[in-house]
């Protein structure tokens, strides 16, 4: 559903991501883990067509993001780490905008359902600049889910959310995966990966250091407690970062 082949991204002489290849199938949830500057956000931005890859191919639901960007983006939902909504539009108008942009015909019922599931029904006519950060995050997720994308990318999805919000978003991510969406989550919250992810990729200095199923990664670090295993994996990558010898 989401295929990346030999992807690299350079910024004026600096290599942000190097030769990355992986696939996320329907129903799979891939967790991207790595220290600041590892290339997680650059990878997500390239996957959704915000920045063009310097080399390699990225395919969303069978559509190349460079050659056929419109078809690829129609199958994609992206939730950035800091959702910048349109400050003069209400919550409902964001959904109406998304529906028109993604050509979702009868969107009203689905939009109402999404508002209800994210506890935003009472905010439907609120101008978004009056919402808290967590609420804005929920609006961005509702917009990303509206067109029923086949691939969804989350960059730090839980920032600013209250415990109820965190539980709601986690459940929504699980539901989307069960419905067949390929999902990638980038985060520094290791517990989130432990709770949700089926696969894990460790990035450092723009390169893939570990990639496999959660079970494989946990087994590799041989801890009985999955959180400790994830921490061990993370700090091994970070140590590589410190010494630069990976």
């Amino acid at each position: 559903m989401l295929t990346v082949t030999n992807f690299s991204k350079n910024y004026s002489g600096f290599s942000a991501v190097r030769d990355l290849s992986f696939t996320v199938g329907p129903g799979q949830i891939l967790g991207l883990v790595g220290p600041n500057g590892a290339g997680k956000t650059t990878t997500l931005r390239a996957l959704c067509g915000i920045v063009p890859p310097t080399a390699g191919q990225i395919s969303i639901a069978g559509h190349d993001i460079v050659r056929t960007p419109i078809a690829a983006k129609r199958n994609l939902g992206y939730i950035p780490d800091d959702p910048r909504l349109f400050d003069t539009l209400t919550v409902w108008e964001h959904l109406a905008f998304t529906a028109a942009a993604y050509k979702v015909a009868a969107f009203e019922e689905r939009a109402e359902t999404l508002l209800g599931s994210f506890e935003l029904s009472h905010k439907r006519d609120t101008l978004v600049h009056n919402l808290s950060r967590g609420m804005r995050q929920k609006v961005a997720i509702a917009c990303a889910f509206l067109h029923d994308p086949k691939a969804i990318l989350f960059d730090e999805p839980l920032t600013g959310l209250d415990p109820q919000g965190i539980r709601g978003i986690q459940q929504a991510i699980r539901d989307r995966a069960q419905d067949g969406a390929a999902i990638i989550i980038s985060s520094h919250l290791l517990s989130l990966f432990e709770t949700l992810c089926t696969h894990l990729m460790g990035l450092n200095l723009g390169q893939c250091r570990r990639f496999g199923t959660m079970d494989d990664v946990l087994a590799e670090f041989g801890q009985s407690d999955s959180n400790s295993a994830l921490e061990a994996a993370y700090f091994t990558i970070t140590q590589d970062h410190m010494t630069g010898d990976a």
Binding site: T41, D87, T88, L127
Partner: protein
Amino acid sequence: MDATLLRLLAMRLRGALRLRLMQVVSLRGALVLVALGGVLALLIASGDLAPDAPLFEMSGLDTETLGNQISTFMPFALLGMTVLTVLLTTGPSFHFSPTEINYLFVGPFSRRDLILYKFIAYATGAGLSAALIAPFAQAQTGSVLSAFTAAFLTLLFVQLNSAAVGMAWQTLERNRFARLKWPVSAAVFAIAIIAMAHAWAAPDRTVYGLLSDVRHSWLGTALLLPYIVFAELFLARAGLSDLAVWAIAALLINGVLLWAVIRLDGRTSERSLKEVTRQSDRWERMKQGGSFWATEKAEIRSIPRAPRLGGLGPIAWRQSIKAVRNSAKVVAVFLAIAAAAGPLTATFGIPITDDRALVMILFFFAFIVPRSLICDFRGDLSRMETYKTLPIAPWRICAGQLVVQVLLSYAVALTMILSLLLFEDRVGAAMALALAVFALPLMLLIYAVENTIFLLFPTKLVPMGRADFEFLGRAMVEFIVKTVIILVAVSVAVGVGVFAFVTLKPAWTLPALAAWVTLSAIAGLATRVLQTAFKRFVVAEAFE
């Protein structure tokens, strides 16, 4: 005052100077310095900055007449400002930034120290502003020193007066008599209008004569006394002793106002915090391309659906909503200015074809309107991620971003053309029609260029404090680039039109059509360049 706060002020001043110096050594900063230096050199060479050069030479006023006008109008203007402060104030005007609130309000400082800290910061700014004003005002006051003193003390008074009056009014606001604010204001305004209308209608009276009589009556003098002191500062030509007397009086007034601000602050601190938050929100919105006058409502009736129009619809829909909710007042102001163009040119007898009129119109449409009315990419730097992820072709996104901005500016242009048609004898129906037809591709060209420059060199939309050389330099360079492109495009279109006329002599229709098609093609080409700039725009690099 706490020594730490003084030290902080000194550090901030040093930091600001360092930033300006860094900006000056940048290309844009160097350009603005060269341009400002050039303007200054021209002024010195032409003798406009000499102490004996008449101020406002173009207005044709001699020093004595100007002095009389300052003596009459300045106290009224300062009084009007005070009244407006009472009518419109929503909070104290000593604004602390969110950073100052987070760091200083929780620190071991008294409110008095914080007010003094802020006042010194204002005074430093006022000193810089006065230094800029002084060379131009010295012709009126007699020397640079007197001009600086007058400007500095007046700027301080303006700040302290609005703060003290605002705070005093908020303290009294709970009083039941406060409800009379609007009826009393309306009554005073009505009396002023009737008096002015009477003076206007009477053959031997003028509005200026009426105001002068009021100002020089014993009642007027008593009412305007604090304000007269500051007008006299600009009129003290008799010598240093005269200036010193008025300066001491001005210092005393400012001292009393500062004391009042410190005393009143304790009663208004909660309101002050609320106001600071409100202003900070507005400032943040302005930085994102919003308007200062944007709606502050929390809830609004949602529009149920957005049009598609092949992808162009939702983008244009979003920008039109922004225009209505964010910029309606700005558009209204521009429409009013445009509507006044005809009466103004007729009153001053300046033909529309005059160089000065053409330069002003160019400056209005290529600089003032684009800088104040922002309903395109320029207000969406932080939302480029969203546009990049939309399944909409780049050319449709660009067209959707431009359409509202171009049409709004075109509406302003049409209003100006209509106003000129009605009031300017030299503008006939045929010329007005031609202007109306050519204005549309011209507006498209202006905003295609404006947005292309923005996408190629994205930057902030508002200056960061006083004397932001980088911002000023960029604005100047952009204006020059736009002017050159517009002049070249218009010249090419006119050239094609003239060539067509020489070839097909008998009629004007085909040459005009050829010129219009040429101008439209150039605007279309500029839009195509904009599309390329959008496709090449890299979000990560722009943010870094």
